[in-house]
């Protein structure tokens, strides 16, 4: 016996307690379900769902399976989370920096924004943006065209659809551009380290990403045309747009409210990060002759990011989980489609709620793992 009971005792007790609690719940659920004549099983996933969903990224209708309906909901959740995260990050960084601005107006405006939006419950904001937008937006027949091709109406945002010819060639040209940029960056870094030569990497990158796809248009036979939405009459006062791509107002309202809400928290993370870098660091950097841009890029940001990343990860996770409020405004996310309609039609409450919980857990853990990896990458490497 090498190990002491004192060391593993508490751990053993914890494990036993956890197993007992879960065992009790499982047993309890089993007994109660048996008493009430409810079967347990996942066979329903392959059955025909027989309900339609408003908005789907993959091909779906009621003749597909419940599993397919699950995927539709999952992808819609991911879609709104990704859009939300991107916009919340952009807005959050801008507002966070604005809060440090010496300009009184910008500074106070950013502070007002943060305090206002983070102190109102998110569900209320979602209702506000959804119903305010619904009341404010014009009916399809009254909508003014934006740039002559897009229409923002009560039934959604209608934008032109891209119609590609030889899309694969365009795609390969883009991949080629990205690969060459990576290669050039690595070479530029080596050049800087060995010979102290600076290469204008950014300029070259921008050039590549435009020029290669442009070449594919000129010589590769790639053609792009647009399908502009056209107004169609359904009844005397009822119209829609046909053709093009339509984004439902539910998606727009949800993405908007999630971004505006989460951006306030990210702004505070960014402000904390920048303020967390000692003033002496900037002064020292300036004293060895770095330009203000270099100070920001080489000295302040790398240190600030270390402070910003962990709390921002939390905000990304919150945003993803908050997206489940979608059910309130009919955006067909995982909760509405799967834990809502599918649960109701099958009555498989325990199975569906477990799958949904497990899915959110997996989504959150994936975001966590990615952000932890990124955090480790920028953390101080002790040598």
């Amino acid at each position: 016996m090498n190990f002491k009971l004192k060391d593993i005792g508490p751990q053993l007790m914890t494990v036993i307690a956890v197993v007992l609690v879960f065992g009790f719940f499982t047993y309890n659920a089993q007994v109660n379900m048996e008493n009430r004549g409810i079967d347990f099983g996942f066979g329903f996933l392959s059955q025909e769902s027989s309900f339609d969903v408003q908005f789907s990224l993959i091909e779906y209708d009621g003749s597909h399976s419940y599993f397919r309906a699950y995927l539709v909901g999952l992808l819609n959740t991911i879609l709104v989370s990704v859009i939300g995260i991107i916009f919340a990050t952009i807005l959050g960084v801008i507002v966070g920096i604005a809060r440090l601005s010496p300009n009184y107006l910008i500074n106070k405006f950013a502070a007002f924004y943060v305090e206002f939006f983070r102190n109102i419950p998110l569900l209320l904001q979602i209702f506000f943006w959804y119903f305010a937008a619904l009341r404010a937006l014009p009916l399809p027949q009254d909508a003014e065209a934006m740039f002559g091709i897009s229409f923002l109406t009560i039934k959604g945002l209608y934008v032109p659809a891209f119609i590609w010819q030889n899309f694969d060639i365009f795609f390969y040209s883009l991949v080629a551009a990205i690969i060459s940029i990576i290669v050039i960056r690595i070479r530029a870094k080596k050049l800087q380290e060995t010979q102290g030569k600076q290469t204008p990497v950014l300029l070259i990158s921008i050039g590549l990403i435009f020029i290669l796809p442009l070449l594919s248009f000129l010589f590769g036979g790639v053609r792009l045309s647009f399908e502009v939405p056209v107004l169609k009459q359904l009844a005397t006062t009822s119209f829609i747009y046909e053709g093009g791509v339509s984004l439902p107002p539910e998606l727009i309202a949800l993405a908007l409210s999630l971004s505006l809400y989460t951006a306030t928290f990210i702004a505070e993370c960014v402000r904390a990060g920048i303020q967390g870098v000692g003033k002496g660091q900037k002064e020292a950097a300036a004293s060895i002759g770095l330009t203000p841009n270099q100070v920001l890029k080489l000295v302040v940001m790398p240190q600030a990011l270390r402070i910003i990343i962990p709390p921002t990860t939390n905000q990304y996770l919150n945003l993803t989980k908050n997206s489940s409020l979608a059910a309130a405004i009919a955006y067909p996310d995982l909760v509405l489609v799967f834990a809502g309609t599918a649960l109701m039609q099958t009555g498989k409450a325990i199975e569906i709620v477990s799958i949904t919980m497990f899915t959110y857990l997996s989504l959150s853990i994936s975001i966590s793992l990615f952000m932890n990896w990124y955090n480790n990458k920028i953390a101080i490497q002790e040598k």
């Binding site: 008493n35 009430r36 339609d52 619904l134 359904l234 405004i329 039609q345």
Partner: protein, 346 residues
């Protein structure tokens, strides 16, 4: 002789004691729900989150509606007081889980009786208290007067977790019309979105359309189309596995309907005790032992009629007088051209 008599009486007494013991404990033993309800002192009833005419709470928190009256009838029968009901408002999504998990004992929430619900998920439907069908509401200004004028691309607002969603798909699919379903979790949001112009049509049970229309900004701007696209028999539901409780709820509802058939109202119920018609006397507890099998006293049905009223009174009070559906349509007695027909209490 005396000795034998003594033995005989003790034997009879023993048998009698045994017999009463078994009958008494059988009903109580058989129905855990009844026992729990009597112990708690109130009936736990799941209702909607607000559907005028069916289950709707006023500003003071008093619930009214024909669905509410089913629960009140059960309370009158089981506890002697129709007001001893605890109402739990439930969304369409939550309702069955609340019932199967034992949070409520009766679900009386405009719920459609279908095969899969009855057979699959641990529920038992006990009857129908409203015969309904799914319909469509549109704006008058749209010029649409029939579902045959629906065109590709129409958007339809509705609730999730209902048979409505499935019927809607069947309806549009069978006609080859593409449509955009916009499904909300709560009825209030459906109404608000439709009212704002998000959808061209609002679809749910016709009684629901009539009731929700009263909540719109300008009820007169909307019409319910004449077509009915589905059968929606709405009725109370109980958990599977408690046959006595199931019978109590079923016969509380049946009593209300049969009372109307025989002209017994809350006003004249007491005087009907001396009626010449044995069927009427059975319905007011003046003849037969109509409560014993449930483990209830003999006047359980009289209390229902006196405290809640018959089905006709309930309909008039909740649905007709509120202007929701003045015409009873199929929800008229079979003797008056409707389809309300219940087995006899005897």
């Amino acid at each position: 002789m005396f000795k034998y008599l003594k033995q005989l009486t003790s034997l009879v007494a023993m048998v009698a004691v045994l017999f009463t013991f078994t009958t008494e404990s059988m009903a109580a033993k058989k129905s855990k729900t009844l026992k729990n309800t009597q112990k708690k002192g109130f009936v736990r009833c799941g209702v909607s989150q607000g559907l005028p005419g069916f289950s709707n709470a006023d500003a003071a928190g008093n619930w009214t509606g024909v669905d509410v009256d089913v629960c009140r009838a059960v309370a009158a029968a089981v506890l002697g007081d129709a007001n001893k009901v605890k109402f739990t408002p439930l969304s369409a999504k939550e309702r069955f889980t609340a019932l199967t998990s034992g949070e409520i004992d009766i679900l009386s929430r405009n719920t459609t009786w279908t095969l899969s619900r009855d057979a699959d998920i641990g529920l038992t439907f006990v009857g129908v208290n409203f015969y309904d069908g799914q319909g469509f509401m549109v704006r008058k200004s749209s010029g649409i007067t029939s579902t045959s004028q629906f065109k590709n691309g129409i958007s339809a607002c509705t609730n999730i977790g209902t048979t409505t969603e499935l019927n809607m798909r069947d309806f549009f699919n069978s006609r080859g019309i593409s449509y955009e379903p916009v499904a909300f979790e709560k009825a209030d949001e459906v109404v608000a979105a439709y009212d704002a112009g998000r959808c061209d049509t609002y679809t749910t049970d016709k009684s629901g359309l009539a009731a929700q229309r009263t909540k719109m900004k300008n009820p007169d701007e909307h019409i319910v189309l004449p077509e009915t696209i589905s059968k929606e028999p709405l009725g109370p539901v109980v958990r599977q596995g408690d046959a006595v409780w199931e019978d109590i709820v079923r016969w509380s509802l049946n009593t209300m309907i049969e009372a109307e058939e025989y002209g017994i109202t809350s006003a004249n119920a007491d005087s009907m005790k001396t009626s010449d018609n044995p069927q009427i006397k059975r319905l007011v507890g003046a003849e037969g032992e109509m409560g014993a099998a449930f483990g209830l006293d003999n006047e359980w049905n009289l209390r229902i009629i006196k405290q809640v009223g018959n089905y006709g009174e309930s309909y008039k009070r909740n649905i007709a007088d509120t202007g929701i559906l003045p015409d009873r349509g199929p929800n008229e007695l079979w003797t008056k051209g409707g389809i309300l027909y219940v087995p006899p209490s005897r």
